[in-house]
């Protein structure tokens, strides 16, 4: 029974005032605006999934950073936007290098029409022309241990004199920016637009690394001016300039009007038909601005995309399930309600994942039959279908399909999945139906899909009697644990540093253990031998034979079970985004994308 009072009193009055205010706020909010599009400027709006560690090319080695760094800076080389498989092309170099001295000397002619972007570190604010000395400076800085603790190992031991310089800079004890005091024997500017690099042996790796963002060219004036804060005031020769960034890692970029590259004139077969060569020869970049906010969670990113706020988002497992599907023939399509307005791309990533055993565990390590049984029981295609919505491809070696000498190239297959056979092996191993086998700890960093992934493996392995329990922890604890050998089974993975198979196969050598890889501490002399040989053998049949033998050793001894390579899927609006061919290697899609401004402002009619 509620007693109704006449005078409601102060409390209720506050109530009503509050709701009145809120209501007026509602109506004042123009909430379906499309985030500042004026209908004239071409703005590419893409979502970043997380904040990068640094915008200083030599300090960063993670993908979120590289995503922006490749737009702000240039390296000597890059990869062709359209051609597949990847093809290296010159960027700041005028042409591909000339090799001499049985492949140990690279002479690189540089472009003479490149300028650094304008900035207050230059005299009267105008960017100066790029010259050969900038290359020497940048590469020396790349070797500076106080700047670069991460990526130097990529060319460690490959450039004459560079390792010594790196050691010398350590001895000095301070962060140095006077690189003139540290001349490198193998790095010389022959003239204003030519440099010569001397390698310790004939190898393509330095060229490949020189195409990466970690070896971008930086202007010494800006580093002299800003020192350690250079990462917060990035300036390079790149296609875009950073206009604004914030704590979250949001980035607003504007076009560099004097960029030196043009849209490719040829592509892969079928590109012309898809309309990807319409802008052939045009000056890059094609858009005026890029707006790239960081949205770490799937829901807000997808919802905003569906409201027309973005021109490109990647899809994670949940977002994929909502917007797309994989057909029986292995095609990725958007769901019917979206298919008129939204396009989808699927690009294979140069990464690979495998189950790693801890060989130092006495039960697992000593019992090869047990490992083979597991290797035969793991359901790799099932994992792809059930845990990552089919966005993957089964790998039979640790080399991803995007790189030469993958399992198809070398004609190699892993065990076909055979539960009956696996059970027999279990019995032979001394554990019929898993009797007498203790539980194994499956260690994993915590995260969204981990439970699903673990659960899938748990069920599969339970079929042959192997029981696993999950142990999750923050990523850093995880690294410590597996590095310390405190695990039984884990899923390990690797993303290519450069597109060479040896980058993956060498991860399982004995030497790799000392470098913080090969967590299971597997060691096989013949495998190590072969791995060293592949480093000095040029690509071809002989090299493939070596990789094949290495794959056979792994199949025989099963230190790891190769699982899958990732297929990255994303969506973009069909009606106003053009020239989009997902380039995972260079990450410089944004240079080539064009936007139909009028249709962009119209948005979706979903």
């Amino acid at each position: 029974m509620i007693r109704i009072r006449r005078s409601r009193g102060f409390g209720l009055w506050v109530f009503l005032m509050f709701f009145a205010c809120v209501h007026s706020w509602f109506s004042a909010c123009s909430c379906s605006s499309h985030g500042g599009l004026d209908g004239k400027t071409k703005v590419l709006r893409k979502v970043l999934v997380s904040k990068g560690k640094s915008l200083d090319p030599h300090r960063q080695f993670d993908e979120p950073s590289a995503e922006i760094v490749v737009l702000l800076y240039d390296s000597l080389f890059t990869t062709h936007y359209l051609k597949r498989p990847i093809e290296f092309i010159p960027n700041l170099a005028a042409a591909m290098p000339v090799f001499s001295d049985s492949g140990k000397t690279m002479t690189i002619r540089l472009r003479d029409d490149v300028r650094f972007q304008d900035g207050d570190c230059f005299a009267n604010g105008k960017g100066r022309p790029f010259v050969a000395n900038d290359v020497v400076y940048s590469f020396t800085r790349f070797a500076d241990p106080f700047v670069n603790s991460n990526s130097y190992s990529l060319i460690e031991g490959l450039v004459v004199g560079l390792d010594d310089v790196r050691k010398a800079m350590t001895v000095k004890g301070d962060g140095q920016y006077k690189y003139e005091d540290f001349p490198v024997d193998g790095l010389k500017a022959i003239d204003e637009h030519t440099i010569q690099v001397k390698l310790t042996r004939a190898t393509m790796v330095p060229l490949q690394v020189m195409a990466k963002s970690v070896m971008s060219i930086v202007p010494r004036e800006c580093i002299d001016k800003y020192g350690e804060d250079f990462q917060f005031h990035p300036l390079g020769t790149g296609a875009f300039k950073l206009k604004y960034t914030n704590r979250l890692g949001d980035a607003w970029l504007v076009k560099n009007q004097n960029y030196h590259l043009t849209y490719p004139t040829e592509g892969a077969p079928g590109d012309a038909e898809k309309g990807l060569l319409v802008d052939a020869g045009k000056k890059l970049p094609l858009v005026d601005e890029i707006y790239a906010p960081v949205i770490e969670e799937s829901q807000p990113a997808v919802l905003k995309f569906l409201r027309g706020y973005f021109d490109w988002i990647g899809l994670d497992a949940d977002a994929f399930q909502r917007m797309a599907q994989k057909t029986g023939e292995g095609q990725f399509l958007v769901k019917d309600e979206y298919k008129d307005q939204i396009s989808i791309y699927a690009a294979m990533d140069s990464s690979s994942f495998w189950l790693a055993f801890n060989i130092q565990n006495p039960i697992i390590g000593k019992n090869v039959l047990l490992r083979r049984a597991i290797g035969m029981a793991v359901d790799r295609q099932g994992y792809i279908d059930n845990v990552i919505n089919g966005r993957g491809i089964v790998l039979d070696t640790v080399v991803p399909m995007t790189i030469a000498s993958n399992h198809k190239d070398i004609g190699f297959t892993w065990y076909a999945r055979n539960v009956e056979q696996a059970k027999k092996l279990m019995a032979e191993a001394g554990y019929p139906d898993g009797r007498g086998l203790p539980e194994f700890k499956y260690v994993s960093p915590s995260g969204g899909a981990v439970q699903r992934a673990f659960e899938f493996h748990r069920r599969t392995l339970a079929q042959i009697g192997v029981r696993i329990v999950l142990d999750t922890m923050p990523y850093s604890s995880y690294l410590k644990k597996i590095d310390g050998g405190d695990f039984d089974i884990t899923t390990s993975g690797w993303g290519a540093d450069y597109p060479d198979p040896e980058n993956f196969t060498s991860l399982l050598t004995t030497y790799a253990r000392s470098q913080g890889q090969n967590y299971g501490a597997w060691s096989n002399k013949r495998y190590d031998q072969l791995s060293d040989l592949t480093k000095v053998t040029p690509p071809g049949d002989e090299r493939n034979k070596m990789f094949r033998e290495m794959a056979e050793i792994i199949k025989d001894d099963v230190p790891v079970v190769p699982l899958f390579g990732v297929i990255r899927v994303g969506v973009y609006p069909k009606n106003w985004v053009r020239n989009f061919k997902r380039d995972l290697e260079s990450g410089r899609d944004a240079l080539h994308i064009d936007i139909d401004v009028k249709r962009q402002k119209e948005g979706f009619s979903l």
């Binding site: 949940d318 399930q321 909502r322 915590s446 439970q451 923050p474 604890s477």
Partner: protein
């Protein structure tokens, strides 16, 4: 007493204690009794969770993400991504949640009460010391401490309980201390002291009962808080991992809700609602029943 059988019509007055009065009051409301029953059910589920009497939530009972149907009890709340029964997962989660809630409260409640009483009553240096301890603990953000302590104690139920217990007593301590400060100047305390009561007796027999209602409400909030904190800790990757946990089901919510799969989230929310409501109701009722001033 008077055994005169002629007094059958009159009430026989027995010595009434606080507890008997309280239980009478409690029994008066049907809703309150229903809430006791709900709590009992959860407790039973929790205990059963440690035995084999509870259905195995790992078993697949249907297709993935089936809608709730009335067909089988297992399907009353539908299935999850692996076709497991949401209902059974909730049962399994009860074990984690209730154990957590009870253990954390058993650790934090005594600490908070005693330290708060001692600090509030004696004041001076002891008060200063207790204040220092809880200031240090409160000053460090909760999440930081919990995660840091799990680094020391490792993962697992006991570690998390100890971590939450060590950090969670502060609220009750502060409240208790405030009450003690208020009450130590009250007339009944002064009177008892004049009559020669010792400090210990004053604290435990006289003032503390007046503070019990706060403790009980705090206990129910603590249990509830522990259960809800587990959700956030699981989201951050530090939660309990053996078996199913409600926190894990909620952590799965973002992906599921994005795809219109509402029933696991609904199931967990409903489960949480019932236990939270029951705890609140019982807490309030106990406080009212045990309040010595409502004669």
């Amino acid at each position: 007493m008077n055994k005169n059988k002629n007094m059958t019509s009159a009430e026989i007055v027995r010595g009434d204690t606080l507890w008997r009065r309280a239980s009478r009051r409690l029994k008066a409301s049907r809703l309150t009794m229903a809430c006791f029953v709900i709590i009992a059910i959860y407790l039973v589920l929790a205990v059963l969770g440690y035995t084999k009497w509870i259905p195995d939530f790992q078993q697949q009972v249907g297709e993935k993400f089936m809608h709730p149907t009335l067909a089988k009890p297992a399907l009353w709340l539908g299935t999850d991504v692996f076709g497991r029964s949401v209902l059974f997962k909730l049962f399994a989660g009860a074990r984690t949640a209730i154990t957590l809630g009870v253990l954390v409260t058993c650790i934090s409640l005594p600490i908070g009460l005693c330290l708060g009483a001692v600090a509030g009553y004696f004041g001076g240096k002891i008060d200063g010391l207790v204040q220092w301890v809880y200031s240090v603990i409160v000053a460090v953000p909760y999440i930081l401490l919990i995660i840091a302590i799990t680094y020391i104690l490792g993962k697992g139920m006991l570690a998390i309980c100890i971590a939450m217990g060590i950090v969670g007593w502060v609220g009750l301590c502060r409240m208790t201390r405030a009450e003690f400060i208020k009450l130590r100047e009250r007339e009944f305390v002064l009177a008892s002291r004049l009559l020669g009561a010792s400090d210990g007796r004053l604290i435990f027999r006289h003032i503390l009962p007046n503070v019990m209602h706060i403790a009980i409400v705090a206990a129910s909030m603590e249990i509830m808080g522990a259960i809800k904190a587990e959700v956030i800790l699981t989201y951050l990757g530090v939660g309990v991992q053996d078996g199913s946990s409600w926190g894990q089901m909620i952590a799965d919510a973002p992906g599921e809700l994005l795809n219109g799969i509402w029933w696991p989230t609904f199931g967990v929310s409903l489960t949480l609602f019932l236990i939270v409501f029951a705890l609140n109701r019982v807490g309030d009722a106990l406080r009212d029943a045990l309040d010595p001033r409502l004669v």
